[in-house]
Point group: C2
Chain length 338, copies 2
DNA sequence: TTGTATGCGTTATCAA
DNA sequence: TTGATAACGCATACAA
């Protein structure tokens, strides 16, 4: 095996106790002995056995938190806010003196392999994005304290959730537009499940609260293939008796909406105002005109998830909580005052 | 302390040896004993002490690799390829049965704090992006096998490097344009140090090889404040006797260049063709027209870094190597054949 | 200030 | 197949 403190002790002609004290920076060691020991350690390239060092302490804590992305498709992995989730969570984990283990886990049908991280038990808790589809995967997850980041629905895992408040955020966007004289506001989405559902609730609520037209004809949320542009939505809206004066969507869809509007000869924000959602870094600024958007504060979501995880680790019997993180408007150039 | 195999042995009225054998799935255990032991473990909620388990084996390996982002500014963290580096490296690390520790480390002047990951020695090696400025930070890094991802220059750390071949990539972009009849190609950059230097070498090389105008007047690489648009570059280029027919830049700068061109009444690709660099997901498609770009294959860079790290861990005395990863053209709508 | 001896939770050896 | 006991490398009371 490798060099141990016994070898060092012999080489430095001291006892193992003295070597151990040097290792632990114990100030009661005499200078001469300390130097002899340090020299011997350097010379023999001594590496203390970290497991032997820890064996004496209570070993239930590893000081490591897993950041686990489960069944997140490749394309979604590169959505702007993913990095914000990760970075926020990691900062909070590191700040607490713990370590952050990052892992993506894609379940493949017929393969029930469980990640080593879960098997080995070298973590104290899990921050998860997405969720396992298999029953066995679910069971392994539930062995650990865990918090879910912005689950879209469909998760069967019993856990705390930190969520972007899309409902309030959409209400905020509506309020912002109403304050600038808009009455007919459309909302566009390339799918009809997931976050859009919360957004629609906020949309309708704001319609009532601010006395806006929030009719079904202004809601264009349909499942469309990913490669389809947004011509369908714009065509539908501009075949109405009264087209909208503003459109709500998410940032990436706004790119397509911009193009569809331009094709139709409509100018932004001259003819139509647009507000995105997510405030994707670099992206909103790239569009012409620059896109006004709702910042979902994804970094805060990551941080809040870790904070909640620490609470739960202290208090395992606590009841599950859904914590909502509020967004904020970031003004750019895509909204006009009527 | 917590429940140990001694407690289990007593409860199940067997010896510790038998309990240990059950723990390790040793087939020589009798069925009756095995059941008694398993029952006792379940009942007492037994958690084996992982450090005690490892103490006997050779303990130099932790099975963990650090993915360390050092002094990377917040805004750069959210560049599109960062996530690709991370994801590529993580997949390769996980694929080898190891675990990926993710950490950002921002040195603050006057604070020589070293990340716990380096202090505790619970990693076998480091994949690094950026580098420490402090001497002490550098020394800690050099205690581990390490590979650097795409260092911009200025690093004093002695290590292997995996780099995007910006030089060949820029040559490739030039070749692509030359094949489509372009002779006067400009290159634009909002800074004059960093990757642009390699790109300029490839630019000039291609100029010679393909007989293109690659005069200094077509090179617009200057340090400008981040908020400045690209009016300066376009103004300079279109005050030339013969303006370029094509422009090379990086994706994010292309957003600004598009706007500056439109302001001048120039159409893309009708009047000017544009090729970006990085092939930023979601971004290139958002621009109108969609941006043709050089994919730098950042995921492959992350993977290659890990592969090289494993080689180095096997062979610590190997001489350092710089490994270049080749990009590939992704065709979209921003280039016209002359 | 230093050395000795014992304990940490587990695995491995050897005898039964 | 099982049990008793000696390692594993380090930390730490206790004695010197």
């Amino acid at each position: 095996m490798s060099v141990t403190i016994v070898d060092i002790a012999k080489k430095a002609t001291v006892s193992v106790g003295t070597v151990s004290r040097v290792l632990n920076n114990n100030p009661t060691v005499g200078l001469k002995h300390k130097q002899r020991v340090m020299a011997a350690m350097a010379e023999m390239n001594f590496q203390p056995n970290r497991w032997a060092r820890k064996i004496q302490k209570d070993s239930t804590k590893t000081g490591q938190i897993a950041l686990l992305f489960i069944n997140v498709e490749e394309s979604r992995m590169h959505t702007s806010y993913m990095m914000q989730y990760i970075h926020g969570a990691q900062q909070e984990i590191t700040g607490s003196g713990r370590k952050c283990l990052f892992l993506t886990w894609n379940e493949t049908p017929g393969d029930d392999a469980i990640p080593n991280i879960l098997l080995d038990g070298e973590i104290d808790g899990i921050i998860m994005r997405g969720y396992p589809r298999s029953e066995i995967g679910r069971q392994w997850m539930e062995r650990y304290p865990r918090v879910s980041i912005n689950p879209g629905g469909g998760s069967m895992i019993d856990c705390d959730c930190i969520m972007v408040d899309y409902q309030a955020g959409t209400r905020l966007r509506m309020e912002y537009l109403a304050a600038r004289g808009h009455r007919r506001i459309a909302i566009v989405s390339p799918d009809e499940t997931g976050y859009i559902q919360s957004k629609l609730i906020g949309y309708k609520q704001a319609g009532k609260d601010f006395g806006l037209d929030a009719d079904d004809e202004l809601i264009q949320a349909h499942n469309v293939p990913p490669e389809s542009d947004f011509g369908w939505a714009i065509d539908n809206l501009w075949s109405l008796a009264k087209p909208p004066t503003a459109i709500l969507s998410n940032d990436y869809s706004c790119g397509g909406i911009y193009k569809a509007l331009v094709r139709r000869g409509l100018s932004i924000p001259g003819d139509v105002s647009i507000i995105g959602c997510d405030n994707s870094p670099n992206y909103c600024e790239a569009l012409a005109p620059e896109l006004t958007s709702l910042d979902i504060c994804a970094t805060d979501v990551g941080k809040a998830a870790v904070q909640r995880l620490f609470e739960r680790m202290k208090n395992p019997e606590d009841t599950n909580r859904n914590i909502l993180i509020q967004g904020r408007m970031v003004e750019r150039e895509s909204v006009r005052k009527l």
